[in-house]
């Protein structure tokens, strides 16, 4: 009961925030809005919870503050912006007129239902999740929930040679908040958390591809995710990879919204900044993502002057700044030192120049891409087939495609160098990490792929 109440509060928090953001776009797909609102609401709620908890406020008071924020956002929205939102759901009439669309919709819902059943069944078999879940994410949540006023002083003392207690607290914080509100450490909270992020990733991808191209492509994009068995495995194992992958995707979609149309939309850039900040608040890879997000904008200097670009980056930074401050505080005062960074020194250069380390890393990058996602047939040829039949067109979303593809490539390259310089057993590290890195980036890649295809676009 209390858990449902908290979930509704976070949904409303995200929903009102995005209704405010979308004031410049009159038609909103409701599916798109909900898939965006709930996870972002959870992220904002996690930030608020940790901030106020560090100030010594009780959990019930923090929940009341969140409710007050919902009421405040509702008041602002009602008073200042009298926008008539046209909410779209499923157009059944259109669906039955197009037989291919109808077939795809049926397959989509069949795959969705099967994946939901598999997710729940796997969650019953492993209710505490797999290794990283109980050894890191849920462990951190238990620490916060069981010692709400003392955890920040003891957190750095948890010895973890395999897991990373220096990872930020989005997942741990929200799960702990729910446990404290409910008064019970039920395993259904982390299960529900991962369920939301796994299925909202698919929903958001599908709805956004539909918006920018057409409904058929939107459903196929969602189907690609639904049919990737490993994506479900990552979700029900309660790892944070789907969570961070969601925030990468949301950032890229919001940047695409910001730069679509005649003029740039600052509200979307701020929302993209918040989403990128939440990626940083989820895992350390998110911090690399934030850094490379700014670096990936540089190719846009070929298309616009630096003042204009700087103006846009200011909005992104403004959105993520409060979260960056919180991450900074966490890293300096609460978390143990990062084992990769603290191990750097004179030997870093020798690792970078060690040919054998590069050989191993490249071998694993290739190996994981060749058996990607546990598909019965490697899915990469499908993407090539799509390009072959449709061709590519970057005319409509040129800026977003160039900058965000650069961002994904930089992420692969950035993580590659992290693997090279890490003071961990390289083969083991790559074996446990590379496939997860691919899956973090996969939803964003699919989105960029579909908006780059030269296909007939639905009128918005």
């Amino acid at each position: 009961m209390m858990f449902s109440f908290l979930i509704i509060t976070t949904l409303l928090l995200g929903l009102l925030f995005y209704l405010y953001t979308f004031k410049e776009v009159n038609t909103i797909n409701l599916r798109f809005l909900i898939n965006l609102s709930l996870p972002i609401g959870i992220g904002i709620s996690s930030v608020l919870f940790i901030v106020f908890n560090l100030f010594g406020l009780s959990t019930n008071l923090i929940v009341l503050i969140e409710i007050a924020l919902v009421v405040f956002l509702f008041y602002i929205l009602k008073k200042q912006y009298k926008v008539c939102y046209k909410l779209e759901w499923l157009d059944l009439k259109k669906l039955f007129l197009n037989s291919i669309l109808l077939i795809i919709t049926i397959i989509y819902f069949y795959a969705l239902l099967l994946d939901i059943i598999i997710f729940l069944a796997e969650s019953i078999e492993f209710p505490h999740g797999l290794w990283d879940a109980w050894g890191d994410w849920n462990l951190g949540a238990k620490f916060i929930a069981r010692d709400p006023y003392g955890w920040s002083k003891t957190f750095h003392q948890i010895i973890s040679t395999m897991f990373h207690m220096d990872y930020p607290l989005l997942q741990k914080g929200f799960i702990a908040q729910c446990w404290m509100v409910i008064g019970n450490e039920t395993v259904w909270v982390p299960i529900a958390f991962c369920f939301i992020f796994t299925f909202c990733s698919i929903g958001l991808l599908s709805a956004s591809v539909s918006y920018f191209t057409n409904k058929t492509n939107g459903l196929i994009a969602g189907l690609v995710m639904l049919c990737s068995p490993y994506f479900m495995t990552m979700g029900d194992s309660q790892y944070a990879d789907n969570t961070i992958g969601y925030f990468y995707l949301a950032t890229i979609i919001l940047l695409t919204f910001a730069r679509s149309g005649v003029k740039m939309k600052p509200a979307f850039l701020i929302a993209a900044g918040i989403s990128a900040g939440l990626a940083g608040w989820t895992k350390n890879e998110g911090l690399l993502f934030i850094l490379l997000l700014f670096a990936s904008q540089l190719p846009l200097l070929f298309y616009k002057n630096y003042r204009q670009l700087f103006h846009e980056l200011k909005y992104i930074l403004f959105g993520m700044l409060p979260i960056l401050i919180l991450i900074g505080y966490f890293k300096v005062y609460i978390a143990p030192p990062n084992e990769i960074i603290s191990a750097q020194g004179i030997e870093t250069l020798s690792k970078i120049t060690d040919y054998s380390r590069h050989e191993i890393a490249i071998k694993w990058y290739y190996h994981e891409i060749s058996k990607f996602g546990d598909w019965i047939i490697n899915p990469w040829w499908l993407f090539l087939l799509g390009i072959l039949f449709n061709g590519l067109s970057i005319k409509q979303n040129r800026e977003t495609i160039i900058s965000n593809l650069t961002l994904l490539l930089l992420m692969l390259l950035g993580c590659y160098f992290v693997f090279i310089i890490a003071d961990l057993e390289l083969e083991f590290y790559l074996h446990t990490t590379v496939h997860r890195l691919y899956f973090q980036l996969f939803p964003s890649f699919i989105f960029l792929y579909f908006i780059s295809l030269n296909v007939k676009r639905d009128k918005v």
């Binding site: 397959i107 598999i118 069944a121 948890i158 010895i159 196929i220």
Partner: protein, 151 residues
């Protein structure tokens, strides 16, 4: 000729989606087969696994022990040693998971409290235990491999 090729191309393009959809149905069918037991016989599956998984069962060993630890403290941890590294670490991390917010340290520095987690061997040699011979007290042997001693 050119017109014919173009016509064929557009025909293939129009229906190119069908093999893709077939592949996706095939993929989901494979997923179904992997999880068939869970989907076809859900009641039996839930009865078999619900609250009966390895981690939950492992965690129940700590329920009584928790009553002996009143406030967050640092505990020295010793576990079974004749195991592979992965299993040793798993037992250690699960102990940390179930006993948090206490800090469990496996660095063999003796603190005020020591926990033995002898999951396989179940007992320690109490008569020849170094700490017990040097004035430490046995708080409780929980008879499930967990033994708590303190100064």
């Amino acid at each position: 000729m050119k017109k014919y090729i173009l016509k064929t191309y557009y025909f293939i393009k129009k229906f190119a989606i069908l093999p893709l959809l077939c592949l996706m149905i095939w993929q989901q069918w494979e997923s179904f087969l992997v999880h068939e037991e869970k989907i076809v016989k859900p009641t039996a599956y839930i009865q078999k696994y619900y609250d009966n998984d390895y981690t939950s069962v492992y965690g129940r060993r700590y329920e009584e022990l928790k009553k002996y630890i009143n406030k967050p403290c640092h505990i020295t941890y010793f576990g079974d040693t004749n195991l592979n590294t992965s299993t040793i670490l798993m037992h250690y991390y699960q102990t940390q998971y179930f006993l948090s917010p206490n800090i469990i340290l496996n660095d063999s520095l003796a603190r005020d409290t020591i926990l033995y987690n002898m999951y396989f061997t179940l007992h320690i040699d109490l008569e020849n235990n170094f700490y017990l011979k040097n004035g430490w007290k046995l708080i409780k042997d929980f008879n499930n491999g967990l033994i708590l001693i303190a100064k």
